[in-house]
Structure formats: C-alpha cells, structure tokens
Amino acid sequence: MEAVLAMVIGTLYGGGLYLMMRRNLVQLIIGLGLLSHGANLLIFTAGGLRRGGAPILAEGETHFAAAPSDPLPQALILTAIVISFAVTAFALALFLRTYQTTGTDDVNALKETDP
C-alpha cells in the first residue's frame, strides 16, 4: 500500500512545484497548498504506517494491548496542518497587498525591490 501512497506523495510534490513555477500569484499559493499536503503525507507515510487503532487508550487501561499507529508523526503533522493554514493565510494577505500595490499578479514582473 505504501508504494501507492509514495506515488501520491510524488504527484503532490511535482504538482505543487509545477504550480509554484507558474507566473500567477494565485497558482503560486495553490501550489503551496499541494506541497504542504505532500509534506504532511510524506511524514505520515515515511514514519511507517503501523496499521493499528488510534493511539488512544481504552478507559481504565495503562498499556496498549495491540500496537497502535505511531503517535509521534501524528503530533508533528497536527501542528504542521494548523501552521500551514496560518502561513497560507499570511501568503494570501501578502499577495493581495502585492497585487494592490504593484498592480500586477505576474510573479516575473516582481523583480525589483523598489517600487
């Protein structure tokens, strides 16, 4: 199963980067979204898909009877998801402002640092 997921991850990375190399600000940010999905899925898959239940103990127990899925990548990804949301929002605000200030959404036109 992991082989399939690995291909999905590759598709997400390739697709994300392809969009980021386009000239429109909108496509840039959508590409960024695909890329962060790919990164999250990469951590999740590479950490090993221990096919088990959720890493949540039943009430009254202190140890897992059967090995659950790995909680560590999950904790990493959870915060990564929320942060990538905040970063996407920041990028949106940045691009919006860039467009309003420079009057262009062409990434290639944004070469000069001085207005």
Binding site: T11, Q27, R51, V107
Partner: protein, 763 residues
Amino acid sequence: MLVLLTICFAAALLAPLVHRAFPRRAGTLLAAAPLAVFAWLGAALPEVMHGHPRVEAAPWVEGLGLEAAFRLDGLSMLFALLISGIGALVLLYTQGYFKNHPQQGRFLMVITAFMASMLGVVLADHLLLLFIFWELTSFTSYLLIGFNHERAEARQAALQSLLVTVLGGLFLLAGLILLAQVAGTWRLSGILGQGDALREHALYLPILALVCIGAFTKSAQFPFHFWLPNAMQAPTPASAYLHSSTMVKAGVYLLARLHPALGGTEAWSTLLTAVGATTFLAGALLALGQHVLKRLLAYTTVSALGAMVMLLGIGTTDTLKAMAGFILAHAFYKAALFLVAGGITHETGGETSVDQLGGLRRAMPFTFACALLAGLSMGGFPPFFGFVAKENWLHAIGRHPGLVAATMAGGAAYVLVGLSVGLKPFIGRRPEHLHAHEIPWSMRAGPLVLGLGSLALAFACGPAGHALIGPAASAVAGETLPVHLHLWAGFNPCLAISLATLVLGIGCYAARPLFGRAAGRLAPLVRLGPDAAYRGLLATTLRFAGWQTRMLQTGILRDYIRITVLTAVALVGAAFLHAGGIRGEARLSPLSLRIGLVSVLMVLATFTTILAKSRLRSIMSLGVVGYSMALLFTFHGAPDLAMTQLVIETLTVILMALAFHHLPVFKHGSPARMRAIDAAIAIGVGAAVTVLVLAALHVQTPTEVSDYYLDHSQALAHGRNVVNVIIVDFRGLDTLGEITVMAIAAIGAYALLKLRPGKGDTP
C-alpha cells in the same frame, strides 16, 4: 592573573566613562591599571627569574575541557613587563596627544582592551584561551587602525590588517587544534614537555606550517609584511604600542613559546631562518627609501621582527639569548621613536616627512634629547642598550659570513633610520614655514622613560640580563641559560664588525637623498609586491561574489525554485547512489481497496488542480485533495489528524475564495517550452520524492521515543489520547513555539491588510 586581566578589561569598559568624568586626566587614571599589573609582575620577578613560574587555573567550561589557565615564566614575564610598562606610558601619552579630541574615550577604551588582550596572549597557558586573546588583539588592532574611520585609507588599512591577521589566525587555530590532539592536552605547560614525541609525529609538519602561517601573518613576516606599514594609518600612540612593541611581537612570542615543543628540527630552522632573514633584509631595504617618519619606523619594525624570527630559527642557545636581548632593546627604542615622531607631527601641525623637517632643536629641546637617546640606541651606538644587544647578536651568529654580512647591511639601515628620526628633524636649518612647540608634559613621560631606559639598561645590562633576558631565553630554550651581558666586552671581532656597521650606517645616512631617488625609481616594482597580490585577491573575490549573486539571485521565483529543488534532488540522489539504492527489509502493509480508491481520487484531484482553467475549480480540487487526506488519516488510525484536516481544509477553501475574489483571473501564460521544462523538473522531483519515501520505508526507524510516549502517557501525563499528550505535555514547548509562529503569521497578515500606507508614504 585572572584578576589582573579582569581589572584591565574592566578599565577598558570604564574608559569612556572615566573620560567623560575627567576629560583631562583620563589617560593618567587609566594608567593605574597597567601600573598595577607592572607592580604585581615586579613582585613576582624574583621568584620567576629563579625558574619558578607562577601558575593558576580556574575552571571555565568544564564540559569542554576549557580552563582559564595562566602561567608566568621568564618569557611571559619579559613580554608582560613590556606590555604593562609601555602600556602605562602610552595611556599617559594619549591624554596629551588626543587633548580635547571628542573621541578620546573610544580610543582609550580600545587601546586598554588591546592591552588586556595582549597580556592574555602572553599569560595564557591554555591553547584556546591563547587563541581567543590572540584574535582579540587582531580585532582591537583593526579598530585602532581604523580609528580615523572617515578616511578611506584608514578603513582600507584596517580591513587589510584584519583580513591578513585573522586569516592567519584561522590557520593558527587549525594548527593549535592539531597540536592539542597530538599532545593530548590543551595546556601549554603540558605540551612543552612533549617536544620529542611531537617532533617524531606524522602531523609535525602540518602543525609547524599552520602555526607558522599564523605567527608570520601576525608578526608581519615576508610575504605577509605589507599590512604593517599600511597600518601606520593608526593614531601614533597605537602605532607605538601595537605595531612596534607589542602586538606584532605576538607571532614571535608564540614561536618562541612553542620552541621547546616544535623547535630544533631541520624544517623549523630552515623555514624560520629563511623567512626571518628575508624579512629582516627586505624590511631594512624598503626602509631606506622611505621619507615619512612613521613608515621609516614601520619598515624597520618589519625588519626587526624578521631578525627575531631569524635568531629563533637558528636556535642555538646564544641566538636565543640574543633574541631575548634584542626584543627588550627594540621595544624601548622603537616605542620611544614612535612617540617622538608622533610628538613632532603633533606639534608641527601635521608634518610627517623627514625631508621637510629640520632645525627643531631650539623649539623642541626635550623631544630632541629623547629622540637622540632612542635613535642612537637603534643605530647600535655605544653606550646604549641597542649596542649591547647588537654585540650579543654578533657574538651569537659567530663567523657565518652570510649572516654577518646581512647583519651589517641591516644594521647600517638601522643607523640610517635611527639618525633620520632621532637627529635629522632637529639639526640643520629650519624651513621657513615650520613652526613648532615643545610637546606637553603628559606626552613627555613616554619618550623620556623609554629613551633614558635605552641608556640606563646599557649600564645595568648585567642585572637586566640576569633578571629578564636570561629567564626569557631559558624559557625559550627549555633549559636554564645564564646570561652575562657586558657593555664593554673588550676588543674582539664583534666590536670591529659593530664599529664597521656604524661607519657604514653613517655613510648611508649621508647618502640618504640617493636612496630616496633610487626608491622613487623602484617604486613601480615594489608596488607589484604582495600588497598588489592582496589587492588582486580581494578584487577577484568581490567580483566572484558579484557574479555568483547575479547568477543565483535573478529575482525570478521560478529560478529560485529550480535551483533549490534541483540541488535538493542532486544531493539526495548522490546520497542515494552512494548508499547503493534501496536496501533492507520493507515494512509494507497489504493493498487495500479503499485506500487505493482515495489515492486515485487524490491523483485525479491534483491534476485537476493543476490543469483547471478557473480559479474556483482549482480551489475546489485542492479541497478534494485535503478531504482525501482526512480520509487517509481516518483509515490509518489518526482521528485527531482527520478532524483537524477536515476543519482546516474547509477554512482554507473559504479563505482562498475570499481572497481570490480580489485577484485577477489567470492571464500570464508561459510559453509551451517553458511549461515543458517545468513539467520535466516537476516530474523529476516527484519521482525523486517517491523513491525517497520508498527508501525511507526500508529503513528501520527506531521506535523508542514513540514507545516511551505510548507506555507513559497514562502514567506520567494522565492522558489516554497519546497524540494530544505529546502536543500539550511531552513536547509542550514545541507547541508553545508553534502557536507563537501562528500568532506571528496572523499579526503579519493583519498588518499587511490593515495598515494602509498614508498619502505621503511610499508603499
């Protein structure tokens, strides 16, 4: 000794405040610090001169084996006395030299800090400690040379000295690390005892080469000598102190210090003698053609440093004694002459050329007296200490014809320079335009003490040899060497050579204008020297940096992405090939229909996102990718992730819809060829990532951490949801950082959107 250094560094820190509180007495007050050091050293002298070094060590960073270890033996004593003694005189001199100068506080601070660092260099017993102080002296020297930073020449000279000495410092650091590795200790006192083992070791030559580069750059040895004459851009008190009597001798000190450990081999004596002799002669030769007071002195300083290295390289007990004696003599007369030169320039309204000076004996009788004392000592006239040192030197090199000839030639140049600075400005006719006053009282102490010292030491050469030169030479040699100096050693060949040198030197002095003209003709040749090489190297480096920046920083995002991902793919690919492809046992799970379906959905959605012509369709397909992620998380036992992903995806779609409302539709297409290249890169990266994931699955990742969390979640953190426990408890600090990042992103976005530039502001 730690206390002494602390006092000196504290004095440096307080210097600007002292200057603000007592603008007219700051130098005098600050001189108390080096005087205290001098007094302490004096008290320790009887013990040290009998071969009982003072040692102290305090723990510093114990985990790294760093100690604040200090050791005061004969060699350290000689240097430390010079540093603190001349330091006190220079601080006093500064007070008059920089009278009413608004930046005097800054100068006092840096020069006091330098003094403390230099004391650290000669007292340190730990190699890393020594290196730290060593670099501090380079750094403070940089600040002092560039003191008049509004002048471009001063800035360039400062940068040059910094680059040369710090680059050398890096070599030195490498050498010291190797040395410590081989010797198994960082303590100098421990290393010095292992001379035989070190000389036999395979790394001996690399260590010697690295340490020598460090020492040669610092002590302005050929071909690194060029920074020292340029460093004369520094204010004269700094030149007198750093660039004649103390800092530039750090390299000599280090070589002398390590002589018991590294010296005595063929490589040592060949390298040091050759480089030292070249520097000695080159410096003397270049000095002949100079007419600026300070540059005359600077080139002879280069020459003198060469002589010290040469004597060290020859390495017989007699030459070591001669070197120690010469260090003492040189420090006295050279510092005095610099202070005199500074005084002349100061009181004549900025005149720096010997040719323009004359007849100042009436106006500056006191300066004349001091200058003559020091100048005659420099020339090696009897009965000055310079004469004693030179006799000793001639005696040490014996009858080797080459060395004797070199010494005579160099000695003649010293006579010329000594008379040019000590005599020429004061005799003859005074040029019409030249008006001068006597130097103020605060500036008199330095030249007087050092000038008279040159005379007094000659008459007290017996005790001086016994108390200072002997112990210093003993420390360098690693065995006890008694030194017996005489002002009058009777008629012998040395005296004859010495007198012949004097005659030759006086002849040269008389023919001085000739040398000036010859130097003028040879100037283009000299300009092709190492200084030009330095400049060329600097310019090339800057050009390369400019080219590289233009290549890598095109300002086009596509190029940045390409460079970044292709570099990443190349690195990963290389590592992958190096490891020999995918190996090990995979932990693959069986195929499952629902995951397969979700995967197909994700791939389709990704392509729709890429190919969609409308923004809304693009966002929607991105949302499909996100929801599919949530499904995958659900299937793999990650309900927390699934839940979070679901909400976030919804919010992202809403946010994008809100924002894209204000952005135009896609209109900037790329040419088909560009799209094809991008697609190829994207496919390549996708394939690389796929392979990377597969390879990662074949690596047995340790699960200790995860298992620990799984086992202790309930017991330690009273939580059954392990993911949540990791987030809020086990790795809570990370989460704190993450929510801070989120808040910063929100503040940034808020500021971008809400703070509209006013009418007058540029956006």
